[in-house]
């Protein structure tokens, strides 16, 4: 389990708290959506999950080990994989396959094992066939998949993805969300960091940060369909949910938790 316990963090002594007493958990076999506007503290939280940053007070532990423990930091980085928001910042090699192999090579795995992990990771993200392509010739969405493949090749127990679908088209988005499903059923814990409420329907839980504090921690349905002022947290309802709510106000029959057009139409046509 990744556990944030009353975490406070700021970047400089006099600056405001980026996180001010934040607690939440991510267990194996669970997808947790971490939501919030730009500047809400999401990206800071991402960097705290594997010890890139350490809390000013409070603690972050991964399967019981504190991220402050320098002796276990190396292992921690293998346990928690992070896919950052900008794929360009994490592409290191001159070919797609070398880029994915970079992490496993640092683990000094056998060549065949590395080959196997590279092939499987590229297949999982749908980049098979582009092994020799130079990363800078990939499209934005392809780079985003490459960054995810690089993290998968490390076979981390927990995967933290910061806005992993921001550059993807609907198919790519559905692919990545499907991938998260598979990783979850594999027993991995996933922290899906985003401001897009349209991609969290499949998550087990949602945690919302606003101004460095947790303002919501509960089921996704309670966030989308509860009577909450999401705009105050810098979040926008998906158009389908807005439509459902407006229909309910006008007295039309709705399934309150509908997340697909078919569900909405199904209720109307009954």
């Amino acid at each position: 389990m990744i556990r944030f316990d009353d975490v406070r963090f700021r970047y400089r002594a006099q600056s405001p708290w980026a996180l001010d007493g934040v607690s939440f958990t991510v267990s194996g076999g669970e997808v947790v959506a971490l939501l919030g506007a730009n500047g809400s503290g999401k990206s800071t939280a991402v960097r705290l999950t594997n010890g890139l940053l350490v809390p000013y007070s409070g603690s972050v532990t991964v399967d019981g080990s504190s991220t402050r423990e320098v002796s276990t930091l190396h292992q921690l980085r293998e346990t928690v994989g992070i896919v950052f928001q900008r794929p360009d910042d994490q592409i290191v090699a001159t070919s797609v396959e070398d880029d994915v192999a970079f992490g496993p090579e640092n683990l000094r795995l056998a060549r065949e094992v590395i080959r196997d992990r590279v092939d499987r990771s590229l297949e999982t993200v749908g980049l098979t066939g582009l092994e020799r392509r130079e990363p800078h010739l990939l499209s934005g969405g392809q780079k985003q998949r490459l960054a995810i493949a690089g993290a998968l090749a490390m076979e981390p127990r927990y995967l933290v993805l910061d806005e992993p679908t921001s550059m993807l088209d609907p198919h790519g988005r559905a692919d990545v969300l499907g991938l998260l499903e598979r990783l979850r059923s594999d027993g991995r814990g996933i922290l899906l960091v985003t401001h897009d409420l349209g991609i969290i329907a499949g998550a087990d839980r949602a945690v919302v940060l606003s101004g460095g504090v947790v303002v919501f921690d509960g089921p996704v349905a309670a966030l989308l369909f509860g009577d909450l002022d999401l705009a105050a947290w810098g979040l926008a309802l998906p158009p389908l949910v807005s439509l459902s709510r407006a229909l309910a106000d006008l007295g039309a029959p709705v399934i309150p938790t509908a997340t697909t057009p078919a569900e909405v139409v199904g209720a109307l046509c009954r």
Binding site: M167, P170, L235, A252, V265
Partner: protein, 278 residues
């Protein structure tokens, strides 16, 4: 006055074994005051189309014109502004004001004139020059940095403004801010926006061009597309949920509808058509 592409195509590394056909036989016109949306999946040729429309690339086939003269890097200079994907990654100067003034300076404006153009552009994107001008571009939030980068393009007062995925990666307030900046820029410019999520701009687009695998598979007026969005689906793009619901419900009632994108307006039509409200 228009930016016009006629049957343009582009092949990278043409004549070599590494040749990649990125775009074939695409035609597009944008006039000042218009918004044209170019949509397509990742790798469909959208970004190549923008590079052709901005004169950065020459078409391998077909013709490109700006205000009736051949479009190339020289004729496009200062008249076509291109906002790249992740535009803020190109911010570089010590202050926001200097960064935004860089383009006008490059066009030959004196320092003070360039700064004045920069102040105006910052105002247009909702970043007051008094407050933001002296800051480091690297101290801005994601949404602010994107808008500062857009200001750098607007400061050149381009007659045609091209934007590649201008809202990607921004949160809802950032998206809204960038969206209104681009919509307002139609006062000075013809605007072409390239995106794989058309929903945000569709309600305001005059025309839509759909690309798939380097080919133009559909082109026409937005309202025609909303009434029959199957070309979006065929090109691997999402039909906006709100539109899909109205069309499906109209089919169930066996009546016609001109779908709208606004969820509230859509709900009102559904509630009336279904007899739940007057």
């Amino acid at each position: 006055m228009s930016l016009r592409l006629e049957d343009v195509g582009h092949t990278y590394a043409i004549g070599t074994t590494a040749a990649v056909v990125a775009l074939q036989e695409v035609s597009l016109v944008v006039d000042p005051g218009e918004l044209v949306l170019v949509v397509g999946e990742t790798g469909s040729g959208k970004s190549t189309l923008l590079r052709l429309a901005s004169g950065l690339l020459r078409p391998s086939t077909g013709l490109a014109f700006i205000d009736e003269v051949a479009l190339d890097e020289a004729s496009a200079r200062g008249r076509v502004g291109l906002i790249f994907q992740d535009a803020e990654s190109q911010l570089f100067a010590d202050t926001v004001l200097d960064d935004v003034a860089f383009g006008p300076r490059n066009l030959g404006l004196e320092v003070e004139a360039a700064r004045e153009a920069a102040r105006e552009a910052l105002h247009d994107v909702g970043l007051d020059a008094e407050t933001y001008g002296s800051r480091s571009p690297f101290a801005l939030s994601g949404g602010e940095a994107r808008r500062a980068a857009i200001a750098g393009v607007l400061a050149m007062r381009p007659a045609y403004l091209l934007a590649d995925e201008p809202t990607s990666g921004l949160d809802s307030s950032g998206r809204e801010a960038v969206r209104s900046v681009l919509l307002e820029s139609r006062v000075h410019s013809g605007v072409i926006i390239v995106t794989h999520s058309p929903e945000e701009f569709l309600a305001h687009a005059d025309r839509v061009l759909i690309l798939r695998d380097s080919l133009q598979v559909w082109s026409g007026e937005t309202r025609t597309l909303l009434s029959d969005p199957s070309p979006l689906d065929q090109a691997g793009l999402a039909v906006p949920d709100v539109v899909a619901i109205q069309l499906e419900f109209a089919r169930y009632l066996d009546r016609g509808v001109e779908p709208v994108l606004d969820p509230r307006a859509a709900a009102q039509w559904i509630a009336r058509a279904g007899g739940w409200s007057a």
